[in-house]
Symmetry: C2
Subunit: 329 residues, 2 copies
């Protein structure tokens, strides 16, 4: 069994990322299929099964080579049963994904939330580097999170744990958030939030080079803000400083309760690298407990789009019967 493969599946609203992955976490092959959201997504299990069979054939392998499937899926999920209460982007509602996928593939299936699975991928083979206490913060269109404690994902009682994007950063008069609340850190530190802050304040900063971007492009992206900040634009630097203040405070407060070994920052915004990390770490240290401020490491996520399939393979591996495999990180 030692040269068996795991299947990692990372289901998104547009594509499903698939990979065959060794027990050591190395990707043998990876590919994508479009997400078929017709008929509320009920065709997806069949299409995954078909894609797996075609790929096996191409590699001159059979089903025997595969051990288990791990899946990262978006939405509200009952993890143990692999049951999707609701996944808006896919169209699933009360969908027994685990059962369906096991039926058509004949393999054991384990399912978790996509953000959690990406965090596990970083833990196993990425920036987390085997740390069993990890906080992953994804700064993309929204702000997501995955918390690993004692080597396990923190799910909470409804699978809602790790929803760090909806931590309230501005208690009063904060910007409205998609979740219905106001002042969530997602309204500040997501790509959308950074864009909003930069565009709102630009009126009072005619000297900023972002004026030219606004005129040329019709809008400002978070990437524009970081590039201008790096080039010395004072207004852009103020925006980055404001974002870092709020995000640094939120992360420091999370570490007071979780004391992780590492903070892994991922998502599109993390591509800003040191332009974000330097002010962020400064604000973090200001608000974190002394002992934690000095011991916590910051890293930018390293697996990019592969984090999902690798983390999915990890949950397949640790859920498999123990005679299959050793559960070492």
């Amino acid at each position: 069994m030692t040269n068996s493969w795991l299947v990692g599946a990372d289901i998104g609203g547009t594509t499903i990322k698939l990979a065959f992955i060794t027990l050591e976490g190395e990707i043998v092959t990876k590919w994508e299929i479009p997400t078929n959201t017709e008929e509320s997504g009920i065709l997806i299990p069949n299409e995954i099964a078909k894609a797996i069979q075609e790929k096996l054939k191409k590699l001159n392998e059979t089903n025997e080579k595969l051990m288990a499937i791990g899946v990262g899926a978006p939405g509200f999920i009952e993890m143990d049963a692999g049951f999707i209460y609701e996944s808006v982007n896919i169209g699933w509602k009360d969908f027994a994904l685990k059962d369906q996928l096991e039926k058509v593939t004949g393999l054991p299936v384990t399912i978790d939330n996509d953000a959690n699975v990406a965090a596990l991928g970083e833990m196993w083979k990425g920036a987390g580097d085997g740390a069993s206490d990890l906080l992953c913060v994804t700064l993309g269109t929204g702000v997501g999170g995955g918390i690993i404690s004692n080597g396990q994902i923190v799910h909470g009682i409804n699978g809602m744990a790790g929803e760090i994007g909806h931590i309230t950063a501005v208690a009063e008069n904060g910007a409205p958030c998609n979740c219905g609340k106001t002042g969530c850190i997602e309204t500040i530190a997501s790509a959308t939030g950074i864009k909003r802050i930069a565009e709102t304040g630009l009126l009072y900063h005619p000297e900023s080079r972002l004026q030219a971007t606004l005129i040329k492009e019709g809008s400002i992206s978070s990437k524009d803000v970081f590039e201008a900040a790096e080039a010395g634009d004072e207004y852009a630097q103020q925006v980055v400083e404001k974002v870092s203040f709020h995000l640094g405070l939120v992360i420091a407060n999370l570490t007071s309760s979780l004391n992780p070994k590492k903070i892994v920052i991922g998502g599109g915004v993390s591509k800003a690298g040191e332009t974000l990390l330097l002010p962020l770490k400064e604000q973090f240290r200001r608000f974190a407990i002394g002992r934690i401020a000095t011991s916590t490491e910051f890293e930018v996520a390293t697996l990019g789009n592969d984090a999902g399939v690798i983390g999915a393979a990890w949950i397949a591996k640790i859920s498999a019967p123990s005679n299959f495999t050793q559960h070492t990180v």
Copy 2:
């Protein structure tokens, strides 16, 4: 072995609480000995061993009746090794408590932080009622916490997890905290913090009945504040409102990352009961994610001073070799 006893020990700066406890978590007998802080606390293991022997003799039992010892201790602790880096109140510094106590008692010893152990006690036999995802908040002289996720204490990488008293509630111009930072929730929601807020603002509220208390007693306690609030004193109600706002926000933000089944509020301040819980729950619901706001239960801790010894017995039970016992909550 089914009628064996566990020993629970809760070591504080003034007394050591001890108990013999059944595998089902019932207290057979409990008693206290003074904490001997002479010679930097090195005599404590011997005195615990002696106290156990005397109690066994009194009950006509022998050492055979005892299965294992669990200990809750204050300070910075390496849990696996049972090694105390530092415990200011006791005087220990680099003290191998587990090794010492095993040597003099001949029993396996498991050690954890006192706040964590109290949280486990509430989980097992108290307000937590078996919930495997629990957030315990202790409002006493300081603010402490214990986080249980997947039935396990969240320790973090240095054992600093659960230090929720040092979550920053006021980012700028907050009151100084013992930890060296400013604006920690401990400076607001502890008995000391409530007293400070009430005394500071009283100058501007000559109409408050707390004026009479101040004149009579020379100071105001958090108990005075809650009593005045309950009796309809508007200023005292404003103080409770302010405390509830900050604490409710901190707890709501914790639930966005942890999604616990229950919040258990303990410590002296929790004796205020509904006078605190009602405004606290209102602020919590304002800042919590909708799904979490409706699913999270608030409870006042029910075990009082017994939480420590019961939780200590729990860690002894779950650390014992698996042929001894079943690990059911």
